[in-house]
């Protein structure tokens, strides 16, 4: 293990001190390696499958309103409505905090992006997203760790940083990475509580106790002015993400800090009551956008040398299901943000809604690994051949984009 975590409420491995202390000078053993141009790269893993058509809506697609039904977003214009990105796509209003980055050319979207595999299992899909492989294998390291090994050369100094709980698969492997986790983020994830509420219903002891516990917690939250339960839990949910992102930004901005980071955000598995302009998914998006904004601001001038890519394991069904939600799908949207991005546009090929994958999902036209390869090639200077064989083995057919970054 890269570190020896002791408590969820403590800084791990590296950072000693209370929340909000981000000085790297005092960190024992925290020697971080340098990378070409002192560039930064952040991967955000949106776990649970983000509905890409809700985040960046293809308002201009003639079948959009009909196919999405109850969860279709209205065309841009009205107050609280979608935000026009171009003549075809509109940004979800809950993502409004990142609109300025789009306008300034520091944000683009790659739509109808997937991960090149066909599974609707969260677990398998997240594994593949993190290993960078096309088919499931036994044990594997993470593709970002493999990239770090290449960037480090023989240097044993650390380059990577895991932000959140344990080191995620994407960062596990030969290269040592640092990890950081916030204090005070300990409340239970709301999804877990909801699922437990259902299966505890048949338990004569646990059922009533849990129900009482939730009531009591909601009460103390209302007294303390903390509405995290209502907003989808703390954990790695909407509210906590901004704190994680802020911390990641400060650590990455530090002169001798880490240069590559991965962080998680959950809460995207919207099978029930997904909502449209407002609702559950909107709340999660709001937290996500606030986090990206916090990350950018925390990085200060280093933002100019930064690329952030946010990906999810797969998209969601085009049509709404029987619970006003959406089920596991195929393609979603990838966010590419940062001072190093040639943004202000929606990239990728729109497959249209006339023909759907398995008659239900948005078809994939871009493998998200093409975006990752672009960053590793144009931002860090790794050779195409290395990317095709070592970072993402057997992917010569997946070509990096040209002109996605300022590089």
């Amino acid at each position: 293990m890269a570190c020896c975590p002791s408590s969820r409420r403590q800084f791990l491995g590296l950072v000693a001190g209370g929340a909000g202390v981000f000085t790297l000078a005092s960190l024992p053993g925290a020697v971080f390696a340098a990378v070409p141009g002192d560039r930064r790269f952040v991967v955000v893993l949106l776990r649970g499958a983000l509905d890409g058509m809700a985040a960046v809506a293809p308002i201009g697609d003639p079948l959009y309103q009909e196919k999405r039904g109850a969860i279709a977003l209205k065309p841009p214009g009205g107050p609280g409505g979608t935000i026009a990105l171009d003549r075809f796509f509109a940004l979800h209003p809950a993502l409004g905090a990142i609109e300025p980055y789009y306008r300034n050319g520091a944000l683009l979207f790659v739509h109808a992006a997937g991960n090149g595999y066909h599974t609707r299992s969260h677990f398998d899909a997240q594994d593949l997203m993190e290993t960078g492989l096309t088919v499931k294998q036994g044990e594997s390291d993470g593709w970002l760790n493999r990239a770090i090994v290449l960037l480090q050369g023989g240097d044993k100094a650390r380059l990577g940083l895991a932000v959140g709980g344990a080191v995620p698969l994407i960062l596990r492997g030969k290269a040592q990475v640092a990890s950081w986790e916030p204090q005070g983020v300990g409340a239970i994830d709301n999804d877990l509580i909801a699922a437990l509420g259902r299966i505890y219903a048949r338990d004569p002891l646990l059922g009533p106790a849990l129900a009482e516990g939730i009531k009591a917690q909601a009460f103390s939250s209302s007294v303390l002015g903390d509405d995290t339960m209502a907003k989808g839990g703390m954990g790695f949910g909407p509210k906590a993400f901004a704190a994680l992102a802020d911390a990641a930004g400060k650590l990455l901005a530090a002169p001798r800090g880490p240069r590559i980071a991965a962080l998680d955000m959950g809460g995207w598995d919207t099978h029930v009551n997904q909502g449209a302009e407002t609702g559950r998914l909107a709340q999660n998006m709001e937290g996500f956008a606030a986090g990206l904004d916090a990350l950018a601001k925390a990085m200060g001038p280093a933002w100019h040398q930064t690329v952030v890519v946010a990906v999810t394991e797969f998209g969601r069904t085009v049509a709404v299901n029987g619970n006003n939600g959406t089920d596991h799908g195929t393609a979603s949207v990838v966010f590419v943000m940062g001072g190093g991005v040639k943004g202000g546009r929606v990239a990728g090929d729109w497959p249209g809604l006339a023909q759907l994958q398995d008659n239900r999902d948005l078809r994939m036209t871009t493998d998200a690994r093409a975006v990752m390869k672009t960053v590793l090639r144009d931002h860090f200077g790794l050779a195409r051949n290395t990317l095709d064989t070592k970072v993402f083995p057997d992917t010569a057919g997946i070509k990096p984009f040209d002109g996605l970054l300022r590089a």
């Binding site: 408590s7 776990r47 344990a166 080191v167 596990r172 994830d189 877990l192 299966i199 009591a216």
Partner: protein, 444 residues
């Protein structure tokens, strides 16, 4: 209800062990009851790290610290105690996680709770685990009387229950100084360790036993082997004593040994132990017939604990109401570690167990931890349990596939709705958290 062998395998693994993993369930299903009894017949002693200090060393360090009373020494001592506590906690958890005979580990924990020593009295902390290793573990499938003697004569118990300072008023020292008997040891031995609160003893018996036990103490720094059991004749109350109608003639240290042998053989003790075992392994309110049957085996075998434990396994009641018992937090934590084959760092374990109110060897009283659901299931406690499961799942290096883990752990006992909830979980870690927090894992 006639359960399938596959279902009974789950009951065997959870009710008598911690949790199955890998292919264990299919192996257990060949003979679930035999799987339990074979472990009792052939216990495997875990290998403990060689550097875990024996109690003698830690008791001597305590005596040294008390004599010197230097501030710096106190801090060094407290640091040492904390380090030893963490090392011991890791070793004990590892033993339960990796033992080929988890039933034995359950019995060890059961019996060290029966003979509770607690860090509520801070000086006990440095050698509480050593007490379990030295006085409890060697006897869990041996004779009750041997465990009783080993536990009561262990310095940890003599210090915890104040007997080291109990002075016979008519002893040589007692005549010189105005000090007296400390009843605590005698009372707890009768009430908690042997006869039970309804075992038919009186206050006079408490005092008689306390007198009998005067002189049982711990060797001081000036003695030959500091930190070990030592009998001091000069504080032993002289003369005959009458306990439970029997007169014990003056015999120094041997008086206590004779009294303990009689207490171990007392029918009330058989009943008391039988009740506690039945409550631990069968139900919060165990059927009377089950208690009677276990007590009968206890009496008939002279307190042979292998036979007594097997009597519990042989009872239909032990199998007929699966998942009727709520796991105590410590068992839940250990079971999760065993299921995932992962022992988290000691500070994580200790922090979690403290929040869950069952930090090992910190029972609030000599009665030990309660063994009924009502004592452990509260709204706050249930949230803490779920939170712990989530945190633990987030800690796992390389989270396992929760569906495979669920099937390896709960097998035939995995209900459809729990499985469905795990399948729908948004990530592996969330799925593992759900499995661990599920009623079937919280119970046994």
């Amino acid at each position: 209800m006639v359960a399938s062998a596959a279902f009974e395998a789950v009951v065997a693994a959870t009710r008598f062990g911690y949790a199955a993993r890998g292919d264990e369930l299919s192996a257990i299903a060949a003979d679930p009851r035999g799987w339990v009894t074979r472990q009792i017949d052939q216990p495997v002693r875990p290998t403990f790290p060689a550097d875990l200090p024996p109690s003698q060393r830690m008791v001597a360090a305590l005596l040294q610290m008390r004599r010197d009373k230097q501030q710096a020494d106190r801090k060094a001592f407290n640091d040492q105690v904390r380090d030893v506590y963490f090392a011991e906690l890791t070793a004990r958890t590892n033993a339960a996680v990796s033992s080929p005979t988890p039933v034995i580990e359950r019995l060890v924990h059961f019996w060290s709770n029966h003979f509770t020593v607690s860090g509520f009295r801070p000086f006990v902390r440095g050698f509480a685990f050593a007490f379990e290793r030295e006085a409890i573990r060697p006897h869990v499938t041996g004779r009750f009387v041997d465990m009783l003697l080993a536990a009561e004569r262990h310095p940890a118990m003599l210090l915890y229950l104040d007997n080291a300072l109990s002075i016979g008023p008519d002893s040589i020292v007692g005549q010189r100084r105005d000090k007296g008997i400390n009843e605590n040891f005698g009372r707890e031995m009768l009430e908690l360790h042997t006869l039970g609160v309804d075992g038919g003893y009186t206050q006079a018996d408490v005092i008689a036993l306390a007198r009998i036990l005067t002189g049982w103490s711990v060797a001081r720094l000036n003695d030959a082997e500091p930190g070990t059991f030592k009998f001091y004749p000069q504080i032993h109350e002289p003369g005959p004593k009458q306990l439970l109608g029997k007169v014990y003639a003056e015999a120094g240290e041997q008086e206590g040994i004779a009294a303990l042998r009689d207490l171990a053989n007392h029918p009330a003790t058989a009943h008391h132990i039988a009740f506690k075992l039945a409550q631990h392994f069968i139900a919060d309110t165990p059927p009377r017939a089950a208690v009677d049957e276990i007590a009968k085996v206890f009496r008939n075998t002279g307190g042979n604990l292998a036979a007594v434990s097997k009597a519990v396994v042989a009872l239909e009641a032990a199998w007929s109401k699966p998942f009727g018992k709520m796991r105590r937090p410590g068992d839940m934590v250990t079971a999760a570690c065993r299921a995932a084959n992962f022992t988290p760092p000691a500070p994580f374990l200790a922090g979690g167990l403290r929040t869950l109110n069952q930090l090992p060897f910190y029972a609030p009283s000599p009665a030990g931890w309660p063994d009924d659901a009502a004592s452990w299931v509260s709204p706050e406690a249930v949230l803490h349990r779920a939170e712990w499961c989530e945190t633990f799942a987030n800690r796992l290096p390389g989270p396992p596939d929760p569906i495979m883990l669920a099937s390896a752990t709960l097998g035939e006992a995995l209900p459809a709705d729990t499985l469905e909830a795990i399948q729908r979980a948004p990530s592996r870690r969330a799925g593992v958290a759900l499995l661990l927090a599920a009623p079937e894992f919280q119970r046994r």
